[in-house]
Point group: C2
Chain length 400, copies 2
């Protein structure tokens, strides 16, 4: 592969690259002189579940590894163990050390499904952030102004609409930037929502005289199954990389055709040209969109499991979908006598919340023993029931 | 003295008191149960010269000591040793440790002319601020919002007019507030310009569950000799408490009549009633304002030197002023051949800067050997000269 082709591969499906010249130099230097370089990715250890949203950036990192990069994975344990002592912030819960280690371990297992462990270094940023001390941190804060910090989109919006920003929130971009100072990273990668923080790394490398200013690679933020919001665990619209083949397959099949093309572009190993051909086939009516979606689902299952798993998942999906039968192997839950139907749906993990359950009942998407229900106040008495939400989500509940 | 009288004495010449009820309780508890309490004052160790501006707050502290307080003097060494690594800020020069110790020592010598050393504790705030570490400081910043910080007058003005505020500047009020947390201060005292920072101490004592919230005593900011700007060393409009009796006397005599009444109110030990009587005497023409000013000058010299010094200073001043003679005991300086007159005036300590010297020459306020000069480019050749600025500043220079 030529350097030109390597660079094209690197650029594919990125949203924006800052200082591409620097990347060109690094890749050239690797191919001509065997000199390696580093690319940094920060991970939030408050949740260990890697979902497809993460794999966009992980695949890009794998590409960089192929072309000479050593990946620096930063476990952001420092802020995770601090939390918010006022208890005001939902997103800043204190995480015990053991939980962070556990999440980091899970991360590694999942991440190494995509990355080359031989070309990956894992760091905990508490190491150098603790060393900063009151003195070092105060000096760090001298390098950025309040006005410029308030230029970050989310800060600006909150400030203008009178939503409180704690001063500590101004420190987090500085911490992230300082990671790049300490590790002397050549490149940082992240979603487009990380642009401000990644440019901070560039800025701080300059003021701390690191002798380089990192290039910044931004990948698109992938939408969740709903096609609207960012894929995230807390929104429940995600496909986890450790999910069962059948679940994974079914989740891909549930997305819209429009979102399917977006996933192809961001997640598939198909070339852009191949994807174009598929699109033309669908438009001209020679290919059915469902078979294109099945191919994507199979590709994704195969990546995180195996070819056999992908085939089995497809068969299971077909059986359930085509025959609209109750699957053989649905999960069982025991619930208390007199339980409210919405609560039962949540406990059986068919619904993320009772309010969502209520909405689905209203819309006629919920069945008990294959009978559609409409009473959202329904209570279940002793007995066994097959609960169903939509076409493909089933559970058996025993009311005892 | 009754508790009521003690509280009146405490309140005299203060600008504002927050939570006076708390002070009432503390003083009452002292007089009834002998229980002591603490009052905190932060000192900036970047300059060791105590001037009359400081004595307003020091006198108030002495009053508190009389009524049961233990004074906590904080040498703010932490921020002084940090400085501004970007070198952008004139006001944040790094101070070496030895210089801080030296300034702190000078401070103590000067401060104990007013305060009772037996009832004064000296602290260096680097002790507990260093202990905070990155973690503790990050937690500290969680307790205050950006929007509220920007409510501080000077921040608000700068933010609105687009003058850069470094994020580190948001940390300093938090540091000052944390001093009160660590020392569990009952009261903090400072100039009116310290209101925001002192209220921060109250706020942080609450969130850190100190079990008390400090009362805040604000004293007026005293104007310098010009009667307009805050008295400060850098503006050159100050009277230092270690200055020579004659200089001190002459400086007081140089102020306007209006400023004289202000100094009486803030600096004199005369009661408000006595001051009122003096005012009436001046207004009705029975007392000459000059004699009232002389009495103030003598009182101030006596406080920082002795009664004898005050009498001698007055005599020297009278002699010089009335006879406009060259004093007997003027300082001598050796300067280089061909020295520029403005530079000679600075070296002879008659002028704070060559630009000021230039202005004074233009205005005809500079004499050489009692002859007014107008050439601001003048160079002095070998010989001895009596330099004079205004009526009362003299020096002898030997050009060698």
């Amino acid at each position: 592969m030529s350097i030109k082709e390597a660079l094209e591969e690197i650029q594919r499906a990125t949203a924006e690259i800052i200082d591409f010249e620097r990347i060109e130099k690094l890749v050239k230097d690797y191919y001509e002189n065997g000199k390696e370089y580093t690319i940094k990715l920060g991970l939030d250890p408050t949740s260990a579940d890697v979902h497809l949203g993460h794999t966009v950036v992980l695949s890009k990192l794998a590409t960089f590894q192929k072309h000479g990069a050593i990946v620096q994975l930063i476990i952001g344990d420092f802020t995770a163990t601090i939390g918010d002592p006022t208890g005001r912030s939902e997103t800043r819960k204190i995480l015990p050390r053991e939980k962070i280690e556990e999440n980091a371990k899970t991360y590694q297992e999942q991440v190494f499904k995509v990355l080359d462990p031989e070309r990956t270094k894992i760091y905990y940023n508490s190491k150098w952030l603790e060393e900063l001390g009151t003195r070092g941190l105060t000096q760090l804060t001298m390098h950025y102004s309040v006005a410029r910090m308030l230029e970050r989109d989310d800060f600006e919006k909150r400030f203008k609409s009178g939503i409180s920003i704690s001063i500590s929130e101004f420190l987090y971009p500085l911490f992230q930037g300082y990671d790049s100072v300490y590790l002397k990273s050549d490149i940082e990668i992240g979603g487009t929502d990380q642009k401000f923080n990644m440019l901070m790394g560039r800025h701080l490398q300059r003021v701390y005289n690191v002798g380089k200013e990192q290039a910044v690679v931004m990948v698109p933020i992938i939408e969740g199954l709903d096609g609207v919001q960012k894929m995230s665990k807390s929104l429940g619209n995600y496909i986890g990389v450790t999910e069962e083949p059948k679940t994974m397959f079914a989740k891909v099949m549930s997305i819209s055709d429009e979102l399917m093309w977006r996933y192809y572009e961001l997640l598939s190993n198909k070339t852009l040209k191949e994807i174009e051909e598929l699109k033309r086939g669908v438009e001209s009516g020679t290919i059915h969109p469902k078979s294109v979606k099945e191919a994507l689902a199979a590709e994704i299952v195969e990546r995180f499991h195996s070819k056999e798993d992908a085939i089995a998942a497809k068969e299971a999906f077909d059986k359930q979908f085509k025959q609209n039968q109750i699957p053989d192997d649905i999960d069982e839950f025991e619930v208390e006598d007199g339980i409210w139907i919405c609560k039962a749906l949540v406990e059986a993990k068919l619904e993320p919340s009772t309010s969502q359950a209520r909405r689905d009942i209203k819309q006629g998407a919920v069945k008990i023993n294959q009978e559609k229900i409409s009473d959202e106040q329904l209570k279940l008495s002793k007995g066994e029931y097959i609960l169903q939400v939509g076409k493909r989500r089933f559970a058996k509940v025993k009311v005892i």
